[in-house]
């Protein structure tokens, strides 16, 4: 018994050490999976003598849920997509950045310094921009892939070989593009048609996965899958026959942003980190790793030249993508219902 107590005491001391000792000089990041190179975190850690801890999520909605379920006040920054930035602001989960707090904010390219989701960049800085559509293994299906029919009305050959992102915002936005209806529609016939269309498409899908979106394509577990453009480029490195689609109906555009969170325990370090990511050399490292696009001036000289010519980063001219919209509570309830119907 005595031994048990001493062991317990020793272990408790260890635990306190694990939590208390390094309380100074920390930075807690809540980030997408596989979205920042470890070397860059190490570099920040070294330059500013800060211990960086990072948790990852696989959808904007999952991030919001975790923050609301008590994680707010434990993370310093998160990296949501445009529409989720505006939701975080509306929910009061984002902290305000006073002017002058970010030395490098002027590095943001002029077209991106006053986005609709965060006017005047008061809570966030742009991180990476890209598109969401899908990739197809052309060895399995060689006909034209540039249509959302591939996912929502798939040809015989792809039945049962499709992965869909487990993310309500992106799936329903792409579905709206497919049907040519507005997002956050309140038109009952449109909503019913959307529900029916998804119900008809689901039997042809193999799985709902976001974080394995690349893996299932690269490993050949599915022949087509919804995916982000840069992630598709990485999948193509393993399986050359994968081709990212720019459907004629359109696709989903997005801009992920680093948001300063409310009650950030290490606000100073969070701002340092944001400034760090506004330096061309650093954000370029993210771009080279994630294979999307950044909107910081002066990154050109650091960027992998291959990126510019990649099929994935060159949407065809003449077709527009859409940004995901945040709906109001009443409309959102209907979309939530459609999503639950889909996953039941």
């Amino acid at each position: 018994m005595k031994k048990l107590l001493t062991t317990t005491a020793a272990a408790t001391a260890l635990l306190m050490g694990a939590t208390g000792a390094q309380a100074e000089g920390k930075l807690a990041i809540y980030h997408w999976f596989e979205y920042i190179p470890q070397e860059l975190l190490d570099k920040f850690s070294k330059e500013h003598d800060v211990e960086v801890i990072m948790d990852t999520y696989d959808s904007n909605e999952a991030m919001l849920a975790t923050l609301k379920a008590g994680a707010i006040g434990t993370y310093d920054v998160a990296v949501p997509t445009d529409y989720m930035v505006s939701i975080l602001i509306a929910e009061g989960l984002a902290d305000e950045i006073a002017s002058g707090e970010l030395a490098n904010i002027g590095n943001v390219k002029s077209g991106f310094s006053d986005p609709a989701y965060d006017p005047g960049l008061k809570h966030s800085i742009p991180y990476q921009g890209g598109t969401t559509s899908f990739a197809v293994d052309t060895a399995e299906y060689s006909a034209d892939i540039d249509s959302t029919d591939i996912i929502f009305n798939p040809p015989e050959e792809l039945h049962g070989k499709i992965n869909v992102l487990d993310s309500q915002g992106e799936v329903l936005a792409l579905a709206a593009v497919h049907m040519g209806i507005p997002q956050c529609s309140t038109d009952r016939d449109q909503l019913k048609a959307l529900n029916d269309m998804l119900q008809a498409a689901k039997p042809h899908w193999a799985s709902f996965n976001s974080d394995t979106a690349k893996e299932v394509l690269a490993a050949g577990d599915v022949a087509a899958g919804m995916i982000f453009n840069g992630y598709a480029a990485k999948a193509r490195e393993t399986r050359e026959t994968l081709k990212y689609a720019y459907p004629k109906q359109g696709w989903v555009n997005w801009m992920d942003s680093v948001v300063l969170l409310k009650d950030a325990p290490n606000r100073e370090n969070a701002l340092k980190f944001m400034d760090f990511l506004l330096e061309p050399e650093n954000i370029a490292q993210v771009t080279n790793f994630a294979r999307y696009t950044d909107v910081i001036q002066g990154t050109a000289e650091y960027i992998d030249p291959e990126l510019a010519s990649m099929h994935e980063s060159n949407p065809p001219a003449g077709i527009e993508g859409v940004f995901v919209e945040a709906c109001n509570a009443e409309t959102q309830a209907v979309y939530d219902k459609i999503w639950t119907n889909l996953k039941k």
């Binding site: 018994m1 048990l4 107590l5 062991t7 317990t8 272990a11 408790t12 260890l14 635990l15 694990a18 939590t19 807690a28 809540y30 999976f33 596989e34 470890q38 801890i53 990072m54 948790d55 990852t56 696989d58 379920a69 008590g70 994680a71 006040g73 434990t74 993370y75 974080d211 394995t212 690349k214 893996e215 690269a218 490993a219 393993t238």
Partner: protein, 269 residues
Amino acid sequence: MTRQRYDIKSYPGFLQITLLCLFVLYAPLIVVAVYSLNASASIAVWEGFSFRWYVDVFTGPESAKFKTAARNSFVIAIIAASVATAIATLAATAMVRGGKFRLRAWSFGLISLPLMVPEIVTAVATLIFFNSIGFDRGLLTILLAHIAFCIPFAYLPISARMQGIEDSYEQAAQDLYATKRQAFTKILLPLMLPGIISGFLLAFIISLDDFIITNFVKGAGVETLPTAIFGAVKQGIKPNIMAISTMLLGFSVLMVLISYLVSRTDKTS
């Protein structure tokens, strides 16, 4: 005495089914152990034998994450199992050596509650609880949750053992003017030791194993081995995960062996 017409105990096919059962239980583990020695960075092809992924676990880019996660897991499991074992030992004494009392059935119900409530329900309830009292989530929230659900796992072997010990030893000690406390610490506890160790080991493994509850109550940047592994495998099974899994398999086998040896010394004494 009539001669038996057949061996009444054995049934045809049962041996084969037992072997099938063992095959199903072990095939995935063996496959993972074998593939952890694959030289290739891809899990799909075999490129020859290598220990590189074991080296990678300790020195690779993710090593820091896994080291922290392993330390968290073991610290939490040691503390949670110790505290739960202490609580369970006291509770078992009351339940087995405390006579019959009105709250006995209720107490037993409360102690076995974590076994009856599905894990996902406990996880959600704990999340709501911490959230509503504004308790900051971190290692401490994981620890508190683990202590609670480890109690019944520690309690079962301990109370089973205590029921197997005659209380005549303690009676004798008290006849020789030992106090109740002395009878407890000097007589009962040493006799109980094998049961306490079994209870501790079971609680330890249960804590080390837990994913669902930990995932719900963990705080920023606090990973245990299961949550770290879950995060890693969600993006595809990598060879370094197989190496970690194989090491944990080895560790588990070691623990079972210890527990087996402890129970054997128990029989010979």
